[in-house]
Amino acid sequence: MTVATTKFETLRLEDMSRDFGTFNALKGLNLTIRRGEFIALLGPSGCGKTTALNCIAGLLDVTGGRIMLDDTRIDTLRPEERGFGMVFQNYALFPHMSVRRNVGFGLKMRGVPKAEIAARVDAVLATVRLSSQADKLPGQLSGGQQQRVAIARAIVIEPPLVLMDEPLSNLDAKLRLEMRGEIRRIHQSLGSTTIYVTHDQEEALSLADRIVVIREGVIRQVGTPAELYASPAHLDVADFMGFRNRVPGKVIARDGDLVTLDVGDGARLIGHARDGVRDGAVGIAMARPDDLAPTDAASGIPATIETIEYRGREYHGLARTAGGLEVFFSAPSAHPVGDLVRLGADPDRVLVYPEEKP
């Protein structure tokens, strides 16, 4: 068996495609992943991110393109020949084996001597802080503990690549935060390369070195968390990165890359124009709820408050303009429902995109 356990420099997806009958789940993905990187594949459900991960793991065959590990073509290898560690969304722990046997399974399959298996399993269980649970069955563990067993099982074989498929989605909010830190810590302490699939932008932002945003089987943008957070390249990426407000308006003025939009009712929004925004044409202003707030300026967007909820440090609300547009905003103090407010935003926090062609 040719298990690819050697260290590598780059993993390249070259035009990687996957069809299911007439449905193209992946439409020619191109991506280069360097050793030691933590890559997040981010996208809404059904976008193809899990398909991409399964193709890399070998659980699905690609129907086009190649996957290269340095100069070795690996998409023709079966999963057991690739030797990547994988953490499944449902953990996929072997229910009939103790934690110790689960974690040692990969080493046993590689013919590692028993004494060495025991030593390495003990070491990795210490890393994931589960030494005291070694002899329990998975069913006796909590969700967070099972999650850590799944990680331990994947990393104990010292794989060149660790693949994680939404590993935190089955955990409650508090545990999710804890495990997020744990995953980052393990990644750093092992110096492994990790590809992490998630639909949670916050998770991707906090964990990844680079984020790959996928939508409908196509890579929309690749960048560092800071790049993606501050300047999403496309409207849909912006939407996915938390720019929930989508206000269309006519471009009536331009000053460098700052454009002014007439958004109706005499209101104006100023923001940074992305590529393709033309003067006189319709642009779409995008802003996060955090950045839209009640203002005294006459240029603010007039809207009637429909709901308002307390979020600790501030209030979050939903308001509706006379034209029926929903806008999400935040406010330092409570406003009564039904109040008419004007909402404005700092131009540096507003991005203007060209209208999407349908």
């Binding site: 030797g83 994988m86 996929a92 072997f94 069913g139």
Partner: protein, 302 residues
């Protein structure tokens, strides 16, 4: 507030509530018809038969019938004859069912296949036996085709031998064994196999380390249910077998005692012995099952 309602408030949970906590509610009543039916059709006849078996037709000690069964080889040998049929048939069916179930679990048109497989169950053993007579008989298609091809010069002796009954039991019971096996196989979370594969396990290792341990308890149940069916074979043993010799199964002995000798007491005793042998095999198999892992076969989740 009226006195009545305050009394109700102070008296704690109502009778209905207390019964519910113990698992007794309206839904429990739904099992009543089933229980009555079981008593009428199974429990009562069983105990009546047991009592009858201790009342020998020609008088004598209570155990006379049992003594006669175990001292007359003509009778006692039927246990071995039946086991010799039922055990290999059941094992063969299991060995056939597991690999086929493994392939079928990945198929999209499972329902069509299951429908085809269920047909022999609905046909019943008599129709299967008749079909076998036409197909495997001395003048059957198989013999005629093979003789025409020159493969054999003498007619095949399949029907009216041990192998005739063996085949008919395989055909009649396989669908049952298969469907049960399939439900156990498909119950195993496919992500377990995928996880094993990413950890470097070859297909053989995945079967040995993951599927087999998770499947064995289910296979033990399947074995027992299939075995009990094969053990109580009667029609095919007569129709396509050799009922005087190699396929003189225990149910034939019971039948002859009841309807040829009119000795219902002896027939009851034979029926009791038959039940005891079945029970012994089932107990041994299920006893072995307690040594196995019997938890959930999905990926464990908290």
């Amino acid at each position: 507030m009226t006195a009545a309602s305050s009394a109700a408030r102070d008296s704690g949970p109502t009778l209905a509530q207390r019964l519910r906590i113990r698992g007794l509610d309206g839904v429990t009543l739904l099992v009543v018809p089933c229980v009555l039916l079981a008593i009428a059709l199974f429990v009562y006849p069983f105990f009546y038969g047991l009592w009858l078996s201790f009342q020998p037709k020609n008088g004598g000690a209570a155990l006379t019938n049992y003594q006669r069964f175990f001292t007359e080889p003509f009778l006692s040998k039927t246990i071995w004859t039946t086991l010799r049929l039922a055990l290999p048939v059941t094992l063969l069916n299991l060995f056939l069912a597991v690999p086929i179930a493994f392939r079928v679990r990945l198929m999209k048109r499972q329902r069509l296949l299951t429908t085809i497989l269920v047909l022999p169950i609905t046909l019943g053993t008599v129709l299967i036996a008749e079909g076998m007579l036409f197909y495997f008989g001395p003048q059957g298609w198989l013999t005629r085709t093979l003789m025409w091809l020159g493969v054999i010069s003498q007619p095949l002796h399949v029907v009216h031998t041990y192998w005739g009954v063996f085949l008919s039991l395989v055909i009649a019971i396989f669908p049952f064994t298969f469907l049960l096996t399939l439900s156990y196989v498909t119950g195993i979370d496919p992500s377990l196999e995928q996880a094993a594969a990413t950890l470097g396990a070859s297909p053989a290792a995945r079967f040995r380390e993951i599927f087999l341990p998770l499947l064995l308890p289910g296979l033990a149940i399947t074995f027992c249910l299939s075995f009990v069916q094969a053990f109580s074979v009667l029609p095919s043993a007569v129709l396509v077998g050799d009922p005087a010799n190699t396929t003189r199964v225990i149910s034939i002995a019971a039948y002859q005692a009841a309807f040829e000798e009119y000795d219902y007491s002896l027939a009851s005793a034979i029926a009791m012995i038959m039940g005891a042998v079945q029970l012994m095999v089932v107990v041994v198999v299920l006893g072995g099952r307690t040594l196995l892992y019997r938890g959930p076969v999905a990926a464990a989740k908290g």
